[in-house]
């Protein structure tokens, strides 16, 4: 439901346009502004309203795009691969089981260097059967080679979705991007957002050239993705060359994501931390590491803890893939204890996946920093300010040497 609002007594055209919309609609509105060629959709909770908004925008003539109602997520992404190889700017959205069904074309997309943008409305994994939010789906595919950026607010969903196309299509990157928005809290949560002006977005996006590197175009014949590899001849070295190139694109993305965020802020006046956000970290003794929409409540809790004299800050990860190792190491350089809050489970290490990644950053710090893995917000559970107070208190206890030997389950006693 769009609730466009004009400022009373002013001309709408001269003021930023505020609307109230849910995160799923914010993503759809952003997609309309980048003027995509092809959308392919299949509904799944909690993503469904996003594709309904896309369909409505097309039906109302507010977006000139082909929309393919495919028979499943596997075909959804396959349609987009074909369209991208034919030069189209493409978008889709999915979550949880849909992502799992999409996996075969999903983990192929980065290798084809196709700049497809996909909203990942995160959802916890079945089984237990669940239709509610959680990061388990996104975390499960974190080695598939997609760029993944997690949004904190509905406004950030809108702005990041626009930026995602620029990042994906950058010639030094050429990788698909997941804009991750938390199922339920961001997908259906409605908030005030400001829309950028269309002319500004057009100028920001520039000219499109999606398939300059690999095309299915009769006028430019080529074989796309011939067999590469084997155990002799030029194959193995060629395979390695492409893999290294893919890794290089991911590393380039760290720079490009930053540049694009800077340019977006300069043009539209809204600045978001591109890789990691430092919140009240200047003299912080302990740091919380957060991801996604939980961060707002964490910030409120930190403000209250600060008022009570606790030197605590937050390092929020926005860009999770590529993992911002250096930015995180810098952000955490001075702290004495770290509490990482995950909205999913890492089965192999008995800790949260973000915590597990952070262990690698701690190695870079060159000194042992006590850290704890908190796991909460699974399957739609709320992560409240009160929960974060408990996280802050437990993290502070690390300073005294009380380091837990397993994860701390946040909602266990809700």
């Amino acid at each position: 439901m769009t609730m466009a609002v004009r400022e009373a007594g002013t001309a709408a055209a001269t003021r930023p346009r505020h609307i109230v919309c849910e995160g799923n609609e914010a993503a759809a509105l952003a997609v309309a502004m980048v003027r995509p060629d092809m959308l392919s959709v299949y509904p799944i909770t909690p993503q469904s309203s996003l594709v309904e908004h896309l369909a409505k925008l097309c039906a109302d003539g507010r977006m000139d795009a082909e929309i393919v109602d495919a028979e499943g997520e596997h075909s959804v992404l396959s349609v987009l691969q074909g369209a991208a190889l034919a030069g189209g700017r493409t978008f889709t959205a999915t979550c949880g089981p849909g992502l799992a069904f999409m996996f075969e074309p999903y983990w192929r997309t980065p290798g084809l260097r196709l700049p497809i943008v996909m909203a990942l409305v995160t959802r916890d994994g079945i089984t237990p059967q669940s239709v509610w939010g959680g990061h388990q789906d996104a975390m499960t595919v974190r080695e598939a080679g997609w760029i993944q950026m997690y949004c904190e607010t509905v406004q950030e969903v809108l702005d990041t979705t626009i930026m995602a196309f620029r990042i994906a299509e950058h010639r030094d990157v050429m990788l698909p991007v997941n804009v991750c928005l938390d199922g339920n809290y961001l997908s259906y949560g409605a908030a005030r957002v400001t829309l950028p002006d269309q002319a500004g977005v057009d100028a920001f996006m520039g000219e499109r050239n999606i398939n300059w590197h690999a095309a299915l175009d009769p006028l430019r014949p080529m074989a796309v993705d011939p067999l590469t590899g084997g155990s002799g001849g030029k194959g193995p070295a060629a395979f390695l060359r492409y893999r290294k190139g893919q890794c290089r694109g991911m590393q380039n993305a760290l720079r490009v994501i930053t540049e694009v965020h800077d340019e977006y802020a300069a043009r539209f006046g809204r600045a978001f931390a591109p890789l990691v956000e430092r919140y009240r970290m200047d003299d912080a003794e302990i740091a919380l590491v957060t991801l996604g929409s939980m961060t707002g409540a964490a910030k409120d809790a930190v403000d209250e803890a600060r008022a009570a004299g606790r030197r605590v800050g937050i390092v929020k990860i926005k860009t999770f893939s590529p993992f911002p190792v250096e930015a995180l190491a810098q952000a955490l350089a001075g702290v004495g204890a770290i509490g990482v809050v995950d909205r999913s489970v890492g089965f192999r290490w008995n800790c949260g996946p973000v915590f597990q990644e952070l262990l690698g950053v701690l190695y870079r710090l060159g000194r042992p920093v006590p850290a704890a893995s908190f796991i909460g917000g699974l399957a739609g559970a709320d992560l409240t300010v009160e929960h974060f107070h408990a996280v802050i208190a437990r993290t502070a206890a690390l300073l005294g040497g009380d380091v837990p030997d397993g994860p701390i389950w946040v909602n266990e006693n809700d």
Binding site: H213, R220, P221, D225, G245
Partner: protein, 100 residues
């Protein structure tokens, strides 16, 4: 009949495409499978009426037209023998390849 010919392939490097970006190929495989053969088709020019049945059924399309008969391009002929079997005028016989 230019409309029925393939468009030329371009060199991606000349178009500014890095060699490590995406696996593509724009050079045609030069493989010549003629050395697979153990039997070779021989066309009896007197019997050949240029009916093109051999051309029609040749899987590798190695049958080439000469002024008065159809011949075999031995660089690509794999020696399957379909042409000899299907020739309505028994103008093709398969003979054993000899080494060298």
């Amino acid at each position: 009949m230019s409309a029925r010919r393939a468009y030329p392939m371009r060199d991606p490097a000349a178009d500014g495409v890095p060699a490590d970006l995406c696996p593509i190929a724009t050079a045609l495989n030069p493989m010549q499978p003629g050395d697979w053969r153990s039997l070779r088709p021989v066309v009896d020019r007197d019997k050949c009426v240029k009916c093109a049945v051999c051309w029609l059924y040749c899987p590798v399309q190695c049958v080439v037209e000469r002024p008065a008969w159809f011949d075999i391009d031995l660089a690509t002929c794999k020696g399957c023998g379909i042409c000899a079997t299907e020739c309505p005028h028994r103008a093709i016989t398969m003979i054993e390849e000899v080494a060298g």
